[in-house]
Symmetry: C2
Subunit: 362 residues, 2 copies
Amino acid sequence: MNEYRTRLEAARRVMDAQGVDALCLSVGSDLPYLTGYRAMPLERVTMLIVPREGSAHLVVPGLEAPRVSVPDNAFEVVGWAELDDPIATIDGYLGEAETVAIGDETWARFVLELQHAGPSRSYVGASDLMAELRMVKSPAEIDALRRAARTVDTVVDEMADVRFSGRTERSISRELIERTTSLGHDTMDFWIVASGPNGASPHHEPGDRVIERGDAVVVDFGGTQDGYCSDTTRMFVVGEAPYGFDAAYDVLREAQACAVDAVRPGVTAGSIDSVARDMITEAGYGDLFIHRLGHGIGMDTHEHPYIIEGNGQVLEAGMAFSIEPGIYSPGEWGMRIEDIVVVTPQGVERLNTSDRAYRVVD
Amino acid sequence: MNEYRTRLEAARRVMDAQGVDALCLSVGSDLPYLTGYRAMPLERVTMLIVPREGSAHLVVPGLEAPRVSVPDNAFEVVGWAELDDPIATIDGYLGEAETVAIGDETWARFVLELQHAGPSRSYVGASDLMAELRMVKSPAEIDALRRAARTVDTVVDEMADVRFSGRTERSISRELIERTTSLGHDTMDFWIVASGPNGASPHHEPGDRVIERGDAVVVDFGGTQDGYCSDTTRMFVVGEAPYGFDAAYDVLREAQACAVDAVRPGVTAGSIDSVARDMITEAGYGDLFIHRLGHGIGMDTHEHPYIIEGNGQVLEAGMAFSIEPGIYSPGEWGMRIEDIVVVTPQGVERLNTSDRAYRVVD
């Protein structure tokens, strides 16, 4: 059976289990996951309506309709003209649905308009429903993630031969972008280059700071290749590491390795966070590890499962996520090591395999 | 007074007039318009809460907080840690607010969570409120739009010397992107290259079709420069125009010119649409003009006011929008001419000034 038909049927089974009568998806990756079509983020609404039984309909602006291809008659396309009321059309396809799950990234405007059009319906978030479908990747999806990971690993290796000192963070980030897209990424999604004290801000935006000898530089970047995302972090040290860096780095590297080794089916996402956090805390750096351990990855850079304290989600083979502990010493330096891993029936596969030692550069 | 303080005060005046107790803004351009800060589209929520009286608060993920700069103490930054409940924090800042306006592009997930946290509040869309603020541009904003328009005009002129025949649409679109970014655009937002029969689909995605002699090619592209958007469409004809093209083009060009000339303070947006539509209809092409005449432009490519039949919005000096009639002959060709214009106290200024005759290329 066609992949999208299979996914739509799986969606209906989850709807059944969760007591959801209809599923509404708009912008974001949920829609292309189920249909192959990505909606433009526009004031003209696009919405897929999947009832628990009966046909699914994709309501799209007439101007976009020619861009939709329908795999194996999996759904019907309904184009709306400029003077139509698409909200009334969508509400019509919802029929007798009482509980309607709506995609996470749908614009507030359309949620409010739908609630107004059908005040007796109960709208709920589609997060759990879509996570149930998207969290466990197919072999083809894992292969796409593997290819994306290989690209950024190659870039990391190339960057080890690049001169850092005397250049701005922005210049290094531009080089990252160029190398990654020329090696096959379709888009870049983020490109963090955080040097010296800037490294202590995990999401630092590369700026005009000139990198100098003695800087530790956090390089964290990723993008999309054939629809699936990459995300890796490696450390670069210009000449010599700053005071206190090496001792912390040994702890970080060991914690990252142990967290990866702990990944296998049947354990919780939260328990993996604890493995790294406990080791970093015992070494005295606990207060400097200020974020969760990781996040799921697939068609989105951040998706379920989130590797965070208290998350009782049980890991299953096929789940893919980052393991990225960090230690941030304000005013001095920051460090993070990040790999994407996939849960296998036996344990774990690292998709990023570039050297995790920090690279000493000029 | 600081620009952002001025805008926040203007927002409070409109809230007062519209009976809105609090304004909540997240992803999209509304937030940077009021604060200078653009939220990352993330599962970690960012939200500005502006009560009608009292301080505004920007609730942001702790990891993003270092990236926020606060102009003139216009608002307070509240970072939330990984295990906090930011929805409870936001709901707390809403205090006694009964009617809460929420930004158009806010993720559905957060709207539903806020409704759940404060079920007695009434959430409404912030479209009208923000349109009231953003529709009339300041001289500095118009200048930014003018600079962005100048860039794409230059690219159009350059493209007139480029060979089209024998190349794919995708190849031409890549060249458009390179030229536009190298001339100063920070990002490209869209790049339509629609050749021959593909031109009949207004939002055609450039593909593998090889352009040949006798093709008319719709080139419609735009991006962002210093935070403000460009958007222009010009026609390129390879060698000789296809059958029926020239007669229709004369009508289109005249209709576009007359619609622009009709722009002035005091007339409605809908009346401008009618000027072009009536002329095209009288010439017998009415059924082939299948979209509205235009859209507002500013920090977003598409914003208020929409130049569409029935829109009673009265034009005021400082409003900026596209005038882009098109004629689409299915299976044959398509054509569109698009300029960004600004309403002036006396009438209208065209920001795009490149030649509107179609360019004959090899």
